[in-house]
Symmetry: C2
Amino acid sequence: MNKKIYFSSKDISNRMVARLTEYLRILKEENKTKKTLNSIDLAEKMNSTAAQVRKDLSTFGEFGTRGKGYSIAELIKIIESILGVDEENQLILVGCGKMGSMIASNTDVLGKNFKLVAVFDKDKEKIGKKIDYTDLEIKSIKELKTVVKETEITQAILAVNKEVAQKVTDILLENGIKAILNLTASRLEVPSEICVVDVDISAKLQELNFWRRHVYLKNLD
Amino acid sequence: MNKKIYFSSKDISNRMVARLTEYLRILKEENKTKKTLNSIDLAEKMNSTAAQVRKDLSTFGEFGTRGKGYSIAELIKIIESILGVDEENQLILVGCGKMGSMIASNTDVLGKNFKLVAVFDKDKEKIGKKIDYTDLEIKSIKELKTVVKETEITQAILAVNKEVAQKVTDILLENGIKAILNLTASRLEVPSEICVVDVDISAKLQELNFWRRHVYLKNLD
């Protein structure tokens, strides 16, 4: 890739990063049948405007050719590079209840270039058992320190009961974890240099329920 | 409740509805130990400003007493009413793979006042089997029409393989479903009067991965 990727903090918001994941998903889908895509078509898929698409993508450099649109393959490479998913990212999972086991045994959920290398639980009945369809053996949370030190992994998925979410988070941070995908319905208190992204299915269901009941509001603007 | 709840379409955005779910979560947590909460403390929990909190809550009426703050119990009732989670909301689930089974057997994931009343799959090996820890028996997708008609349910959770997500969505809409919580990594094409909320764990993991790699951007503003 000979084009420069650059961006500054002012250009990047949480919503911008979320849009990047959506661009990537769309581009991979389009890549199955097309070689180029213009900003109008990309905007339609994004439920956005061509101006917004051009603004978003210009944040990272000069891409696309006037009249021809964006090279899909090139744009995929660029966005994968920005998101850091152009290479394998290892992570650990803590909590092998229903949610945790589902994710550990179903790595499609994580997507390309994310790899679970260790799973932990505090339940003695679970420790030592294999996760179905994988080579992962459930380890005691007491082994966390050694594993994090050996593997230098800094990213974790948290799938424990919400009642212990903060306590387990504190243990993760003490042991060198810097980024947490939080699948619990609890919000985590962490220092500002720690990254947390929440996935809360029950909150999303409440949102859906609102829109279902107030669908007349949906298309008024 | 003698205070009026009102709002117009101009006041309500997707982000506003998402914030309401977050207010509700915080208020329920605070309700365990307190009776009132002022906008400053609520803002701190929301990672927001007191002005934003007052603006958000004033969208729905005149709540709170100067100097005393908001009555937590009252505000919970109001927000539950707005989100429609002050009464039971029934829904169906389509797709009993790993993700679907996890949700069906672990109804805590759905939260208060959401109840799964039927689960569907197309796999003959699964049809007729019970979901663990529940009374739910997996039905054939062919029975969808009858169930939706009998129960008048309009809300569904979609947990099928992403390759068939659109096809199954079309079947859901033909049979009267109006709102879908989409747990697949596919985006659904639906008419404008249909509500869809996506929960995409792999996209959230990509976001986390970005922030982990660019943590220096996180606190510059």
